[in-house]
Symmetry: C2
């Protein structure tokens, strides 16, 4: 029995991937059939079964559009998987307050300037354990001058740097930071507060850490 993925199987994998990127959900048998330029569903099923046997995709029987591309599949496509980039949110709580490691303070200005105003911070601490950002994750921050209400921002308060949600409202206290965790109170804007940038990505530790 041959194990390697055939060209036709790779074609189908690419079709599934493209479809998901364009539509936001996986294709049906018929849609794959059309794109493969074949006439029978059986052709599609054959290929899918083999992809599944090789653990490139995963399906659920009798369930519409139930194709999920597994990590091996993403690797074959040369793309990072969807899920690890978004993190696995454990509940409804959005991004929470976090602490930044000390290195940031001394190096921020250099890095911000040289890296086109985008830099990485490693999150430490466990105060956000129930939210989307966990200890060890990397946070990608882009320095900005203007902020829109709802942005997740990196903010410096006195000597401390944390991440909060920035809210600008029509009602008092008008401009404030929201930890989005019932444990913590909102923080009204003061002049001791500097917005450093906007969080544009969270890289889960499980993903960027080498697979050992």
């Amino acid at each position: 029995m041959k194990k390697s993925t055939t060209p036709r199987q790779k074609e189908l994998l690419q079709i599934i991937y493209d479809y998901i990127i364009n539509e936001g959900y996986p294709p049906t048998f018929d849609e794959m059939r059309e794109r493969l330029k074949v006439v029978s569903n059986q052709s599609v099923i054959d290929l899918l079964n083999k992809l599944e046997k090789n653990r490139i995709i995963k399906r659920n029987e009798n369930i519409a559009r139930s194709i999920a591309i597994l990590p091996i599949g993403y690797e074959m496509l040369g793309k990072p998987p969807l899920a690890p980039f978004l993190g696995v949110s454990s509940a409804g709580a959005p991004i929470n307050s976090i602490e930044i490691t000390g290195e940031w303070q001394t190096l921020s200005s250099d890095i911000a300037k040289l890296k086109d105003e985008v830099f990485i911070l490693k999150v430490s601490g466990d105060s956000m354990i129930n939210s989307g950002i966990d200890d060890g994750d990397l946070v990608l921050v882009k320095t900005e001058k203007e902020f829109v209400s709802g942005n997740v921002v990196l903010v410096q308060i006195n000597d401390e740097v944390t991440i909060k949600r920035f809210i600008s409202d029509d009602n008092p206290p008008y401009i404030y930071l929201k930890p989005e965790n019932p444990k913590y109170d909102i923080i009204p804007a003061t002049d001791k507060m500097t917005l450093k940038g906007k969080v544009i990505s969270v890289l889960k530790e499980s993903y960027w850490r080498p697979v050992s």
Copy 2:
């Protein structure tokens, strides 16, 4: 007419998001109904219609699991959208050869060390215009010592730094770099070649650039 998103609508949005993250594809009406703890599909339809009216999600009539969360929806969840992070691959071609801006050379060692060996490079040049990486994109690189065949790597050849796919094969030339573009030839490994790290993410310029 009220415009704001109701708590129940937010609940459903979170349910859809969680489902996609866990399963790899969106839920059916019944699955959403169960999670909302209601008995009728009508309840789900009502909520979905409102979410769609507010452009938080998008659906296709009569199509199973055809829910896509729109950028506004992701913003409400405090999560980056799926698609922009993966880039929109124009064809089957995987990651291609790119040039790195000059800054990298002088600063790499510092940044690599301080940022937990993960750093960002801005891609310049248009030699990869037909692939997943475009001019102006940001590439996230993690320094590594061991590489697996198939990894997309950052490699230094003499004075030049480029990105290629690293292949280790059972047949000659055994270890080589693959541009994955018919225009370019593969490059067998030499001792003038240093693998600097592994590309773990591509940030499309359209995403990280501030919306103006």
